[in-house]
């Protein structure tokens, strides 16, 4: 019964949004706006529920003595510490300090490591020396070179080639990808509306 209630609720909500988007004359705008406003509020509570769930999971893990506990302790300390500082001292500059001196350097460092992974992965792919790998290599080097800010000054035709590559083959391929993903979104939406997929209850 609860399962069908959730399916019905999701289907009704989805149909209201779709109907308002396609036929504004139906006058469902206020209903749709109310739903969107409600979703914003719900998402804030969902975030809170997610944090509590995360804390609970790591507490159970510590209590059960499963695996290394260092990561769990660090995560909980960081989470509670950041939350406490942000809620208790919002005007002190401490939240900004945490962001600027911890979050930002850590995120930037992790992203910088990607350069090394990318180089390693590129070699693995290029070294296969298959037709696909050679094509990939030529495309990568060519586009990297053409995207440099100096290329058009070196030879004006290079700027035209870059423009053509982006506007014709690449945009064409991306259109195909977009249409494919749009069809996929339509299919998944239909399945949700029909109750075949139930992401709202974790199925």
């Amino acid at each position: 019964m609860r399962r069908w209630l959730s399916v019905l609720l999701v289907a009704l909500t989805g149909l209201v949004m779709v109907a308002d988007g396609l036929v504004p004359e139906l006058g469902l705008g206020p209903v749709r706006r109310g739903l969107v406003d409600g979703a914003v509020i719900l998402s804030a509570f969902a975030l809170l529920a997610g944090v509590l769930n995360l804390l609970g999971w790591h507490l159970r893990r510590l209590r059960g003595g499963e695996g290394a506990s260092g990561g769990s302790i660090l995560l909980m300390l960081a989470l509670l510490g950041t939350a406490t500082v942000t809620i208790a001292l919002p005007e002190s500059g401490a939240p900004e300090w945490l962001y600027a001196h911890l979050y930002q350097p850590i995120q930037a460092s992790l992203m910088a490591l990607l350069a090394f992974y990318s180089v390693s992965a590129a070699y693995r792919t290029f070294a296969l020396r298959t037709a696909d790998a050679v094509l990939l290599m030529i495309s990568a080097v060519l586009l990297l070179f053409l995207q440099l800010p100096f290329t058009a000054a070196l030879l004006p035709v290079l700027g035209d080639i870059r423009q053509w590559l982006l506007a014709a083959p690449i945009a064409g391929i991306m259109r195909g990808v977009l249409i494919g993903s749009a069809l996929g979104a339509v299919t998944v939406s239909l399945r949700v509306l029909l109750g075949r997929e139930r992401p709202q209850v974790g199925e």
Binding site: L22, Y103, Q107, L128, R129, R196
Partner: protein, 429 residues
Amino acid sequence: MQIACPICRARHPEGTRTCTVCGHDLATLHLVVCPICGALNLVDDERCRRCATPLREPPAPLTLPETPATGPSESAKPTISAGQEAAQERLGPVPESSAAELPLGQQEPAIPLDPLAGLTAPLGLARAAAEPHRATLGLAREPGDAEHYDADLLAQIAAEPAPLTEGAHGVTTEGHPALPRGWRIALYVLLLAAALLPWVLPGLGSSWIQPRQAVVALADAVADLPAGAPVLLVWDYDARYAGELDPLATALLAQLRERQATVEVVAMSPASLGQAQRVISAGWGDQPSGPTLLGYIPIGEAGWRLLAEGAPAVGIEPVSDYAMVVLLADEAAAVRGWAEQVEVYSGVSPYVLVTARSEPSLWPYVQSGQLRAVLGGAWAAPEFEVASGQHADAVATASGYLGLTLVIAILAVLAMLRGPGSGPHRGGQ
């Protein structure tokens, strides 16, 4: 009635002969802006393709004679012009009570019986059909075998009882050759050297930088802003992409500051808000004239929709009230959210500053006119500084990109000469 430029989507009063933004000849070709919903329509369209409002001759209130004759006679009937007659014919009969009982000028507008009648293109496609370089949408034809097959397939997938994730499996990478240890270290050192190039050779090639069209368009648009013009920056990237997007954001903010624009910033996540704060405080310090941070709007596409209509509770005006809107995003999905949830409803086409990896997937939206221009952070930052006459830090990053390109080229040559080919795995780990 407003008209719009078919090239840059700028809106002008009816009768404007040349687009003041891009110089396109509007006397030859322009689009018609729906006065009700703001959608763009072809000149020949009789009704708005989105909301079906009559475009050519709005249904003016019927005029009543000043001295009504007693009794129902032919002369006592309201006088209707030829245009009104045509409009009435399209909209169906007007109930007598609406014309006869309400005072002059207060008659309710006639509501079409079928608001979608006469539409030859699906909703939302009007803009695409209006583009001169796009294929013209024709009348729907009878579906063929291929269409029937596709429809059956879609119905089959949509009704499949098993979850779509069933049967998914991981892809193994076993057997791929790895770079020998010595070569790998050498390449990593080269990569580090490329990253340090902006500090070692900051001016390398800066005199050769030639800004491309999209950059010039943004620089010109900023330069044309009158003092105090409201500008909205929608911030949707965090520290992960700070290295790529911060130089461009900083250069843009510096120009907006010079133009004395009234800048408001809204973020799409808490981390983006923190990043925006950091970039702004680096450029503006604590000056009261700095940008106003409006907070962040969560929940992705629904949040975008909220932005389209404005959020008075948090001080966000509808996006159409801003002289310029700029998105700064690390993901193409965020920009697509704008195109599909905000631009469609507000008609506002923003400038977009994105990561280089997201740039190609947004080109279709530029071609359809839903985005004004897309600037990839990696190359656009130095070009923007040159185009706007600044000489700050971003120009130096160009030498870093040159170094990175050289490293990849060396890697490609190395792989071709030394790689073990497509046979079994022979590289060291």
